[in-house]
Amino acid sequence: MATLEPAVTPDARAGDPELLERTWGSPPGLLGWLMEVNHRRIGRRYIATGFALFLLAGLEALAIRMQLAVPENDLLGPEVYRQFFTMHGATMMFLFAVPIMLGIGIYLVPLQIGARDMALPRMNALGYWVYLIGAVTLYTAFLLGVAPNSGWFNYPPLSRREHELTIGIDVWISVVTILEVAALIGAVGLIVTIFKQRAPGMSLNRMPIFVWSILVMSFMIVFAMPTLMTTSIFLGLDRRVGTHFFNPGGEGDPLLWQHMFWYFGHPEVYIMFLPGLGMVSMVIATMTRRPVYGYTPVVLSLVATGVLSFGLWVHHMYATGLPRLGTSLFTAASMLVTLPTAVQFFCWVATLWGGRPRFTTALHYALGFLVIFLIGGITGVQLGAVPFDLQVHDTFFVVAHFHYVLLGGVVFPLFAGIYFWWPKVTGRLLSERLGKLGFWLMFAGVHLAFWPQHHLGFMGMPRRVYTYLPEMGWGPLNLLSTVGAFTLAAGVAVFLVNAAVSLRRGEPAGDDPWGGETLEWSTPSPPPVYNYRWQPTVKSRTPLWDPDWGTQPVVTGLREDQREMLSTTLLDARPDNREILPGPTLVPLVTALATAVPIVGVLFGLHWVPIGAALFFVAITAWNWPGAMPHRTEEPGGREHRLAQREREREEAEEEAGS
């Protein structure tokens, strides 16, 4: 029903699948894999890598929980434990949550806006390679026993050289810097794509809510990430060159780090949260077979959340002795930021109301998100209040809070999105039975693991302790929490089994198993490398639910023997220009390696920074060398030959019909 078949006879020059395949495809083999610039393949790599890191960070968490399960445990000594909790936090926050959301955006956004690829394909590839280099660097350090060890937010003076000689801190600085580069690249690519590559007719107020969430997230990345890069470079300079940004003895201030880090750090958690909100909107709408109630309030809420989140950072610093009046303003701001999310919550309730939704696994995860995130949001409001925060800051109450909001607000929507879009990406269905089993295990696991931690915080258990005395009485709740962590892990394991079975012998999904309303459901599953045989136009927010979707006009007039896309205007998406995109090339990989040389090389010596900068310059020159584009599909005799061929075939068909 959903696949688009134009009513008018297509122009003989348009919609030739074979030609499109050759124009938009990649060379085979390893070389083709390294040269890949196609957004779906790159998106899949981001998602697969991000998910693998999620599993690794989960294993680190299980190790932490096993160490804390009983008092005075000796599974992980204090030096190893420091590395584990730092790696768990850094992996989840830097290597999993943001990259996987970027990856889903990179995969899905062009499909949802009716484009054949992202606006800047080589940059897209560069982002992935840089991310992969960052991940490999961090985990190599971990395997070598020199992982960063002072927490994922790495406060000086502890992280300054005089207190932490280990190269692990420098590894943290390099990895974080390189990951910020990757995130910025992804964000900029997404912003340009969303602004310029939307299908004609898809004005901003007809964009899918998921695309809005990715747009807001990307702007947040652009405004937040540079602060972290700057401040981690300051720490690197303190450690390697002898500056005193954070050294009170040298007129510096440890609080400078906290301000700069959290100015990034608070928006960071909303960066990972917003795409989840977008995914939940899509799942609820499709499963209820209704557009989300209150499109405008929902979109405005996304934007408001993004903007407001930049004004909260001091709530991480209430205990540092800042003036009370100032911190109270941040209490007000921290409470204010919950309002847009509350609006969205009720929009979803209104969507679901009386609607007989289909309780698929995806919807289960979306509903689970509502419950878990609500609890986390409530404890967040409590933490926003200065006096109460002074009691529970840096205790397991905070650990409970942020796991509720992150598991509830990032992981559960992620799984909802996985169950929702898996058929589109792989062409197969996941088992609903296994899916629901996995959901309930994860749901129960979250509560079992993290509810007791609220109590532990009240009972006086601080964060980041590698052990505790039996006399404190924290043993039973810690043990319960460990059991919960394993339950959660079991739920994730069930998903892995489900995924493996589906890939081997899952039921074919068809184009549109859910009866979706947005453009991606009108392509085959998985989509061909060129996404759309005929690029669609739209005239509503829910194009596939329009009664006359079948006769919707399509885009014609673009060449199909080179990578051409239509760019449209920002607000109303009227056709504007013709973009010519580059084809597969090794330049992004080479540039990524050149980027790694100064950022990772600095670990081995300061001289690598200028050498790396020179290499980077060379790579960028190669990137911009004229003649790299356009990428033309070679064809014996060229287009004219094919046109003549088509003409002949049509005449033969007419003759047969006539006779």
């Binding site: 204090p78 406060y155 003076p157 502890l158 207190h163 009170p248 003895g249 440890p254 109630y293 209150g294 309030p297 205990a319 540092t320 002795g321 009370r324 109270s328 209490t331 204010l336 919950t338 309002l339 609006v343 919550f345 009720f346 929009c347 309730v349 209104a350 679901l352 109301w353 009386g354 609607g355 007989r356 419950v371 609500l374 409530i378 404890t379 409001v381 409590q382 209040a385 200065v386 006096p387 109460f388 925060d389 002074l390 009691q391 800051h393 840096d394 205790t395 915080g457 009240f458 009972m459 006086g460 601080p462 980041r464 302790v465 590698y466 052990t467 005395l469 006399e471 404190m472 009485g473």
Partner: protein, 343 residues
Amino acid sequence: MRPLSAARPRLPLAACALLAGGCVGTGVQDVLAPRGPQAERIADWFWISFALAVAVFVAFVAVLAYGLLRARRLGERNELPPAHGRNLVLWGGLVVPTAILLVLLVLSAYTDRRISRLGRGAGPEPLTIEVVGEQFWWQVRYLDPAHPHREFTTANEIHVPTGRPVRLLLESRDVIHSFWVPNLHGKTDLIPGRTNDLVFQVDEPGVYRGQCAEFCGTQHARMALLVEALPPAEFAAWWERQLRPPAPPTDSVRVKGRDVFMKNGCGVCHSIRGTPARGRVAPDLTHFASRRTIAAGTLPNTRGHLGGWISDPQGIKPGNRMPAVPLKGEELQALLDYLHSLK
């Protein structure tokens, strides 16, 4: 057989009493077992917020469940009329949350003012104590600006009089630590390069446990402290005792113990008033035997624990700053005798 100088502990509560100032279930280090006005006000705010939290959660889940199952009950789709939808979003998503948040905000500001006003302006002059955090112990210096000769330094235990505000001046010599005694007040960080202050008051005599609450390195987990509140007269007597340096030992074993202490360089890091030991980078041991714990709340201060600590500090608290000093058996016994004579 020499008389034993260590306190005789009684099973099985002794370890609790020494380490935790009480036992499980009696609210040790417990935010919701306040023993001072600040902690009480904070706990009050929490309970109000908790009641509102439960109400919000139950209400939302009820509304969600009702809406989800409504069609199932009615047997057909029954969508929300646009006006009702608008009301639901407006009231549920904006008006009611705003009201609740305003209440919490105002109460929070009010609580903050109440707990901050103690010790400032009118009222009794607070007792001022300087607390310097180091990896991984607390230096405590009792100040008396009017009589500087009555000031003295100790470590890891803070004694305060009941019924009088106590003002802590919080500093750090190395990295960021955080001072937290939940029964009494919220926490405040000790940040190198600045002096923060924390004012609290204890109403009931007792021993209250606290712990460092900002990751400060490998042994952050074992950087605890005790606050002991005494009635004012007892507190004054305690102050007098602390001012007096211990009498030089006369017992031959204790003399030998003191020699062991001095000859093995302990005085380079630790100080004992009235002796050549003047070190400042480790806890002051002048009245060591009057303290309940060793190594910042890591072990109870008994002979057996102390023997193990001195023999192998890195085994018990790996990564702390105290080296192991090899001693012969009889040297260790003499040293234990001497240290436990420092009441």
